[in-house]
């Protein structure tokens, strides 16, 4: 886990997609702490990272783009050993994922079968205990993978951060971030976004009082674990899977942006699998215009952000409700 997880509590907001109906400005206005200067981590956009015009127009304010993507590209070009380190991590991640997915296929097949066996009341005295054990097994599978990836990342990023090519650039990033009032974390490729933020220690350099606001993939990386999901991908089983740890600023929730398009939220069995699997963390469906913001009493829900429950239901807390 990144040292950033040890940072003191700060206001954190998780938003759904911002393409169609941007609500970022409104969310910032609604939290006392959402002030500038704004630093932007948008490495998930990859080579489009610097295309901040639309965002600045929406905010009515300039942003400091951290340029994590080009910085990493420059560092790779300058430092072949760094490139090899990241290739090493990539190859190892693929190997871990391959085995994890094999286990996951089997675990989820059992669970789906058992969920289908449960009666309407869900109190079958034979199936229900078996289901409990099956969920424990699935969670153990998830936790093992999460721990494996965390260990790999800790080891590789320690070596990455020690390299001069990265250290110099991390210092440049730190100067852009240290006096920021709010860090904005945009969506895109969630793996690349996490990697580049970790590589340059973006959250390590952040002022403890600064707010952090992430949308789509940017929301996912702020949680404790990044969960990949799509019920109907072009190919593959579409089994939700843990990609690895996030930065852990948003505790107790699993961010699921684009849930309306990527998940069958009207399928109670599927919702049960998500709700119960990640409990006590709450999976949050974050679609256009939807957001949650951290408060001292819990998460404040806005715009119709929904919670996926272990009983298969999906509910949208009232506007401004804190849970």
């Amino acid at each position: 886990m990144s040292p950033a997880t040890e940072a003191p509590a700060r206001t954190v907001c998780l938003l759904g997609p911002q393409h169609k109906t941007p609500t970022l400005r409104a969310v910032l206005d609604s939290i006392d702490a959402g002030t500038g200067p704004f630093a932007l981590a948008s490495a998930g956009w990859e080579e489009r990272e610097a295309e901040t015009g639309e965002l600045e127009k929406h905010l009515g304010s300039p942003v400091r783009c951290l340029d994590l993507w080009p910085r990493a590209e420059d560092a790779f070009a300058e430092d072949p050993e760094l490139k090899q380190l990241m290739f090493e991590r990539f190859d190892r991640m693929r190997a871990l994922s391959r085995v994890y997915r094999m286990r996951l296929d089997a675990e989820l097949e059992v669970l789906r079968t058992l969920v289908a066996e449960l009666g309407e009341e869900g109190d079958d005295d034979v199936v229900a205990p078996a289901l409990t054990v099956a969920f424990e097994s699935l969670r153990a599978c998830d936790e093992h993978h999460l721990a494996s990836v965390a260990s790999l990342s800790d080891s590789i990023f320690e070596r990455v951060r020690a390299r001069d090519s990265v250290r110099r650039r991390a210092d440049e990033v730190a100067r852009l971030v240290e006096d920021a009032g709010t860090l904005l974390v945009a969506g895109g490729h969630v793996g690349i976004l996490y990697n580049r933020m970790r590589m340059f220690g973006v959250l390590d350099a952040l002022n403890p009082g600064a707010s952090v606001v992430g949308w789509s993939a940017g929301a996912m990386v702020l949680t404790e674990r990044i969960v990949l999901f799509h019920d109907s991908p072009p190919q593959g089983a579409g089994n939700p899977e843990i990609h690895g740890p996030g930065f852990g600023l948003a505790a107790g929730v699993v961010a699921m942006p684009h849930a309306g398009a990527r998940l069958r939220l009207d399928d109670a069995a599927r919702v049960t699998l998500l709700g119960r699997r990640f409990a006590p963390a709450r999976p949050l469906a974050l679609d256009d215009g939807q957001s949650v913001a951290s408060t001292s009493d819990g998460w404040r829900f806005d715009g119709g952000a929904r919670v996926l429950h272990a009983d298969g239901s999906v509910d949208a807390p009232a506007e401004g409700e804190v849970r």
């Binding site: 990859e46 590209e73 895109g188 969630v190 793996g191 996912m220 991908p233 072009p234 190919q235 942006p257």
Partner: protein, 385 residues
């Protein structure tokens, strides 16, 4: 290519039977205002206007009479009604006989054509068939580049063309899967391969990849289970690609593909050099075999049948993942169907997709999305904009 055979002109669409009656009664003047072949509920009405002693429909649907006779509906007007299933796509020509002289022509009343290295055929499609936009219309925000190369082969002692698809945003700080495509120049020209790749990469359905398109000057020999060809691919082409491009290592990121004899070449190469390629995309593979008697496909098939017979007798897994596609209107469907369980028993992750289509480039084009996304699932899973 336009979609044929819809009667959109009239407020009340004419039925196929009524149109046929009208053609009989009014002759060629009744053709006006309609497109042909005229499709209705799984049937197609063809028409031919002109002087002829006989007119036939020539298609390449295995199991059906290859030349189906038209009937004279009126003076210099011939018609034929055949069944065309909803998702079917059938390439055809018309045989026109005059004074004992026959010739094959494209249907003058049908603008829909399918091109191939030998020219073009007319096409009729069932009412539910739709052409894949992702092969015909490049909607990608960024496009890859096709690099032209002349490659000197020691194995064959000649210089041959290579067209190498380099994906958009290619950079040496990343590594890419490699796909080697037999008859690759034809795939580019007749199956829209570059457009397919651009669109699928843009939609994140496949990862950015490098595709090496090869073309043989003598494919019926080189692709017919030739050891020389396998050496050419693995010992010459592969090192060249590895030296020039930033590629992922290991067989799980290397694939071979091809259609017809190109599929045979892909399978044979993978078997001759185990561990070099972990994925195969095999379209309408000419995997002919004989359990008894001769194969009846001519001498060019002799080495292929010998190879496939030997392989069926003593099979080993050629790759971890194999995608097969074949048209149900091809005689090869039997061989491709038999390949699926054989590979599955060997532990290969195999998928067979069948189509109501024949042995042609547009069939192969239409199955590319299925095959490529199955072999190389893209980063859509990772992207949350």
């Amino acid at each position: 290519m336009t979609s044929p055979t819809r009667d959109k002109e009239r407020a009340e669409p004419m039925t196929l039977d009524a149109l046929q009656d009208e053609l009989r009664e009014r002759g060629a003047s009744a053709l006006e205002g309609h497109t042909f072949p005229f499709i209705e509920n799984g049937r197609a009405l063809f028409a031919y206007q002109g002087r002829a002693d006989a007119v036939t429909l020539h298609h390449w649907i295995f199991g059906l009479e290859s030349a189906v006779p038209f009937h004279r509906a009126a003076e210099d007007l011939w018609t034929l009604v055949i069944e065309v299933q909803e998702n079917a796509r059938v390439e055809y020509k018309l045989g026109v006989e005059i004074a004992g002289q026959g010739r094959l022509v494209r249907d003058p009343l049908n603008d829909a054509l399918a091109r191939d290295p030998f020219g073009a055929n007319s096409v009729v499609t069932g009412q539910d068939y739709s052409e894949p936009w992702w092969a015909l219309e490049n909607r990608a925000k960024r496009r890859g580049e096709v690099l032209e190369r002349r490659f000197k082969s020691e194995v064959f002692g000649d210089v041959r063309p290579l067209s190498i698809y380099q994906p958009p945003r290619y950079r040496t700080t990343r590594r890419y899967p490699l796909l080697v495509c037999h008859d690759g120049l034809d795939y580019l020209e007749f199956a829209g391969l570059a457009t397919v790749l651009d669109n699928l990469i843009d939609r994140q359905e496949i990862p950015p990849m490098v595709v090496c398109c090869t073309q043989s000057p003598n494919r019926v020999h080189e692709y017919a289970a030739s050891e020389d060809h396998a050496r050419f691919v693995v010992e010459e082409l592969l090192p060249q690609m590895e030296s020039e491009f930033s590629l992922l290592e290991g067989p799980e990121d290397r694939a071979l593909m091809g259609a017809s004899f190109g599929a045979v070449a892909s399978l044979y190469t993978a078997l001759q050099h185990p561990g070099a390629f972990g994925k195969l995309l095999l379209q309408s593979g000419s995997f002919a075999f004989t359990d008894i008697g001769g194969h009846g496909r001519g001498p060019l098939f002799d080495p292929v049948v010998e190879f496939v017979n030997g392989y069926r007798k003593d099979p080993v897994a050629p790759a971890d993942r194999v995608f097969l596609s074949c048209g149900r209107y091809e005689s090869l469907i039997v061989y491709n169907r038999s390949m699926e369980p054989l590979l599955r028993r060997l532990g290969v992750d195999v998928k067979l997709v069948e189509a109501q289509d024949g042995h042609n480039w547009e069939n192969w084009r239409d199955r590319l999305r299925d095959g490529l996304t199955w072999l190389f699932p893209g980063p859509l899973w990772m992207v949350y904009e």
